[in-house]
């Protein structure tokens, strides 16, 4: 079954100064358990596309289906990770990761237990009663992912989820998050402007064009390395080839 199906989607924003054609004629599907990255020049509507899949926005034309069901609003099938962790500084880590289920009024003792188990598995248990400012950037991002996982989404949408971190942390966190997503067997769509990040994590990379954003090309990423973690993928011989292809495709001029 297809986890996500985007069919003929177009998006136009209205403003007093005129119309902005953000997206046009977008078609693609994502299979269950697949990791798809979307790259494109800034302002090409990548984030808009994620907002559409999350149900926060409604497309002006076309339809989006999650596991065969048409999207009508924010769905519990999707979990969305923003650029920054946005942990609430007035809540402890445990209360922060329970925010989603609390809002969905789904907080049961079992869920709470599951949340604590996540904290244990991913090394944040001893920080459960600490406040976000007492955690490092990487730990905060992990907490943000757990906050999403607690609501048990099938499909994770990551919107530049690592770009607020410094380079070293970013490499470590993308490894970290990738491992968690694979372990929990989630489908993931990551939007990024970092070509290397996309190739190192994705099964497929979608390249988008300038506004109005369309899908220019889709690359199946096949790397010959025994250990397909983002860190090791960067050492695969095909990595440079993909990087070069996508770079040319993006057609970036400064």
């Amino acid at each position: 079954m297809k986890a996500v199906e985007v069919r003929d989607v177009g998006m136009t924003y209205q403003s007093a100064n005129g119309e902005i054609h953000a997206l046009e004629n977008i078609n693609f599907t994502v299979s269950e358990g697949e990791f798809v990255c979307i790259v494109g020049p800034s302002g090409c509507g990548k984030s808009t596309l994620l907002s559409l899949i999350s149900g926060l926005l409604t497309p002006t034309s076309g339809n989006i289906f999650l596991q065969g069901e048409k999207i009508t609003g924010p769905s519990r099938k999707t979990g969305y990770m923003l650029q920054k962790d946005h942990l609430f500084e007035w809540r402890t880590i445990l209360k922060n990761i329970l925010l989603g289920v609390e809002i969905q009024k789904a907080l049961t003792p079992e869920i709470k237990e599951k949340a604590i188990m996540f904290l244990e598995t991913y090394g944040l248990f001893e920080f459960r009663n600490k406040y976000p400012d007492q955690l490092s950037g990487g730990m905060r991002q992990r907490a943000a992912l757990i906050r999403t996982l607690v609501t048990d989404p099938q499909i994770l949408l990551l919107d530049e989820a690592f770009s607020a971190l410094d380079y070293q942390t970013r490499l470590a966190v993308s490894d970290d998050i990738y491992a968690i997503i694979k372990k929990e067997k989630k489908t993931a769509i990551l939007v990024t402007h970092d070509i290397a990040e996309a190739i190192s994590m994705a099964d497929r990379v979608l390249v988008m064009s300038h506004r109005p954003g369309t899908i220019k090309n889709i690359y199946d990423i096949l790397l010959t390395c025994h250990d397909h973690t983002p860190m090791h993928s960067r050492e695969a011989p095909e990595f440079r080839h993909y990087f070069h292809e996508i770079w040319k495709e993006l057609d970036i001029h400064v």
Binding site: S54, L56, F88, W90, L99, I103, Q104
Partner: protein, 282 residues
């Protein structure tokens, strides 16, 4: 300052070992604090002492400047007539009611304006005008409409503090990271959940700030109100004292006013600490 030393000493208490250097540093901090307190007290005593001496030796005219000993006498007199606490009580009560009403209504109206964009846009020019208008000008209007009494004074207080509260709290709401709100919406949160989960807790510092400003404004409102209409209260004593040239009464009332206003301001600070401690943030 006192906060800092408190935190340092409590974090030290958790550790087993305290170096000699650190002990010296701590006692130095303590000494510094004591010196500041001592100097503050000294200045107060000097002012009142000098005031008293200058008045006693007739270098200044106590009829015009009053003097500390006569102020104590005034307090005693008021107490013996049984009206001291009546005057203080009425003024404090008016202030507290005006303060609470201003704060609660202000926050509620700010929430309404955030909730409805239409309402916010419609009311914007009115808020600008009302914010610029010196509210004291409305005093006579309130007296005619409501009648000379405590209610008019409370309305006066409300008029002074309400608009500022609305604007301060609304500004706080608008300043909150839109992505935080998006986060709640992603989880399917409703508008009221955005309000309770993000807006109110995140703008707590703004609300406390509004409270602090409001304490001062409420006293202004009450005293102005009492100047205009009242037959009791500290503002009334000040105006009456001025009219009959009893500067003792005026000075005494001003000093009591200063003390009462400070206590109320400290009350807000304690409330802030209480809420922060209850939510575990300090």
């Amino acid at each position: 300052m006192s906060d800092n030393t408190l935190k340092i000493s409590s974090s030290v208490a958790q550790e087993k070992f305290i170096s000699e250097e650190h002990t010296r540093y701590l006692s130095q901090l303590k000494r510094e604090k004591m010196t500041i307190r001592f100097t503050q007290l000294l200045i107060l005593l000097l002012i009142f002492g000098l005031w008293e001496i200058l008045a006693q030796t007739r270098i200044i005219d106590p009829f015009i400047t009053s003097q500390p000993s006569r102020m104590i006498q005034t307090i005693e007199n008021l107490y013996e007539q049984g009206v001291l606490f009546q005057h203080i009580g009425i003024t404090c009560l008016e202030t507290i009611i005006g303060f609470l009403l201003g704060t609660i209504l202000g926050v509620l109206i700010a929430i309404a304006l955030w909730w409805s964009n239409f309402l916010a846009k419609v009311s914007e020019p009115y808020l600008v005008v009302l914010n610029s208008l010196p509210k004291i000008a409305l005093g006579p209007v309130f007296i005619v409409w409501i009648g000379a009494g405590p209610v008019a004074i409370i309305v006066m207080t409300l008029a002074i503090s309400l608009i500022v509260t609305i604007l301060e709290v609304l500004n706080g709401f608008m300043g909150i990271d839109k992505e935080k709100i998006k986060l709640v919406q992603i989880f399917g949160g409703s508008k009221s959940q955005v309000l309770t989960k993000v807006l109110l807790p995140a703008s707590f510092p703004n609300i406390i700030n509004a409270l602090k400003v409001n304490v001062g404004l409420s006293w202004v409102g009450v005293i102005v109100g009492e100047f205009l209409v009242s037959k009791a209260g500290l503002g009334y004593l000040i105006v009456y004292g001025g009219q009959v040239f009893k500067l003792d009464l005026v000075m005494t009332s001003v000093v009591i006013l200063g003390i009462a206003a400070t206590i109320m301001y400290q009350g807000v600070i304690y409330f802030e600490r209480f809420v922060l401690r209850k939510s575990g943030l300090i």
